[in-house]
């Protein structure tokens, strides 16, 4: 048999192994085939090895090979479950349907959670992990407060009623657009614009700063009156919104930064114990909720030591 034919037989065996109903007899038959010739054995080992590396596709769940197939595998079931584990404080059960006594609905997500909040004006807010949002949307004004975490906004166009997002010491004002706001633990606020125009300004400007007008592809990080704009990149904005598909998308960030991102989504915390490991550059797409796969990949790929202690995963070189 030619190498190609042997490979086909080996592929057949390897695939059948994953099928339900693989019996001890099947195993014995495979062993017999492997023992027949080293050519069989190496073809099998080669396919098995390559196939295992493809198993890491699990880490790529949600990547987009085609437009049509994308939608169908957008949400991993466990993420959906986490997303529904919403805690509603004070306000109505469903967004914008009712408002509480103080006239504001409050929405919060647990670590690893994600929630879509439809507002009564037709706008839509998606809350990321460990986030809290208060909303006051009426016929006279549209205002929300991002108390913690990150949210993605799709704002219904209404020129007479600007939509205002209060995030820490920043105020973000829009007419109708799509953008995200992240409150970082250090107090800085990151705004990324997918579409339309967004105005970012300090909540209390005291006349020293002018508002920044952002458009599609812009990302700014604001703190007080300081504002850092990164070069326009729609790809970067898309990557920053990977969480909407349950993904973390890294392009050459350090392992320390990647670990920090994972820690936003998981109770199990990654701790990098030395600076050599912390500086390893990481790229790729990962399931936010699947810290185990990420750890396995970096352990195998970078030969790092991994030690689990309770809710902590300690990584060292």
């Amino acid at each position: 048999m030619s190498a190609v034919e042997i490979e086909k037989v080996a592929a057949h065996w390897r695939l059948r192994q994953d099928e339900p109903g693989w019996t001890a007899q099947d195993e014995a038959a495979l062993e017999a085939w492997l023992a027949e010739s080293t050519l069989h054995e190496v073809a099998y080992v080669r396919l098995d090895h390559g196939w295992r590396s493809i198993e890491r596709l699990n880490a790529l769940k949600g990547a987009k090979p085609t437009a049509q197939s994308r939608r169908s595998w957008r949400f991993a079931p466990q993420l959906l479950a986490a997303g529904f584990a919403l805690t509603v404080l004070g306000g109505g059960l469903f967004a914008g349907v009712q408002t509480g006594a103080i006239g504001r609905s409050v929405y919060a997500t647990p670590i690893g959670g994600r929630q879509v909040v439809p507002l009564s004006d037709g706008s839509r807010v998606e809350l990321n992990t460990d986030s809290r949002l208060r909303a006051s949307v009426r016929s006279t004004h549209r205002e929300v407060w991002l108390d913690r975490g990150e949210a993605y906004f799709e704002i219904a166009h209404d020129p007479s009623h600007p939509f205002v997002v209060h995030a820490g010491d920043q105020r973000v004002t829009v007419l109708g657009t799509r953008f995200s706001v992240l409150r970082q633990p250090d107090g800085r606020v990151r705004v990324a614009v997918v579409e339309g125009r967004v105005r970012v300004e300090p909540a209390e400007s005291r006349g020293v700063s002018r508002p920044a007008i952002m458009t599609r592809g812009d990302t700014v990080i604001a703190s007080g009156v300081s504002l850092l704009a990164t070069p326009k990149s729609e790809a970067r904005v898309d990557a920053q919104l990977g969480w909407r598909d349950g993904l973390l998308i890294f392009d050459q960030v350090s392992l320390a930064e990647a670990a920090g991102e994972f820690n936003r989504y998981n109770k199990k915390r990654l701790v990098i114990t030395d600076s050599a490991a912390a500086a390893i550059p990481i790229g790729g797409r990962f399931e936010a909720a699947n810290v185990e796969t990420f750890v396995r990949l970096i352990r195998e790929g970078f030969r790092l030591k991994v030690e689990e202690r309770g809710d902590e995963i300690r990584i060292s070189s």
Binding site: S2, A3, V4, E5, I6, E7, K8, A11, H12, R14, L15, E19, P20, S37, T38, L39, E41, V42, A43, V45, R46, L47, D48, H49, G50, W51, S53, I54, E55, R56, L57, N58, A59, L60, K61, A63, P65, T66, S69, S72, W73, I280, P281, I282, G283, G284, R285, L297, I298, E300, G301, F302, R303
Partner: protein, 190 residues
């Protein structure tokens, strides 16, 4: 004797990553493109058999020495190549660089490659692989979802697996057409 699991792990870790370099080496030194998969397989089998007794200390040098010897023997046996070629092969230097130097790149690269390999598959084949491998559907569920027969699912999976593995190991990731009809004219090695 080396335990089978250890042998397999060693082979996957040390030998298979050499596949792109090995394939290039064979291609450069052998005229008939259609022989390359068989030659490569033969090199793998010889290396694997030798490693059963003891794992070679320098896998890369060992793999290329094996490839070179195989080519020399093939050339002699085939009697169709000139003596010059054989002489060249004997003088041949095998590619050699520091083992493990690129390991850090590999994990990142690997993830990119999986995605790129998937993108290269024909659409139907990709759908089947995604449904089965990523969404974890069974063969039957996949067939129902895509409205195709189970035998088609199986065939597409076989093709997808072979193409993806080839791509992951540095190949083109495309299944060559017409592989089937070529049996008759290949050089059979005992």
């Amino acid at each position: 004797m080396v335990e089978r699991d250890a042998l397999r792990a060693w082979f996957a870790r040390e030998v298979l990553p050499l596949e792109p370099a090995l394939t290039r080496f064979l291609r450069r030194n052998w005229r008939r493109e259609s022989d390359i998969p068989d030659l490569r397989q033969e090199v793998y089998a010889k290396v694997y058999d030798a490693a059963r007794a003891a794992l070679p200390h320098q896998p890369k040098a060992f793999v290329f020495a094996t490839a070179r010897n195989l080519l020399i023997n093939q050339a002699k046996r085939a009697r169709i190549v000139s003596i010059d070629l054989v002489a060249d092969l004997e003088a041949l230097n095998t590619p050699f660089d520091e083992p493990g130097a690129h390991r850090q790149l590999e994990a990142r690269e690997e993830l990119r490659r999986v995605q790129a390999g998937l993108d290269l598959l024909p659409p139907r084949c990709r759908e089947v692989v995604v449904a089965r491998r990523i969404e974890g559907l069974s063969q039957r569920e996949t067939a129902q979802r895509l409205g195709i027969g189970e035998d088609t699912v199986e065939r597409q999976m076989l093709n997808g697996m072979r193409a993806l593995v080839d791509f992951m190991l540095g190949g083109s990731g495309k299944l060559k057409r017409g592989e089937r009809g070529r049996r008759a004219d290949r050089v059979v090695t005992p």
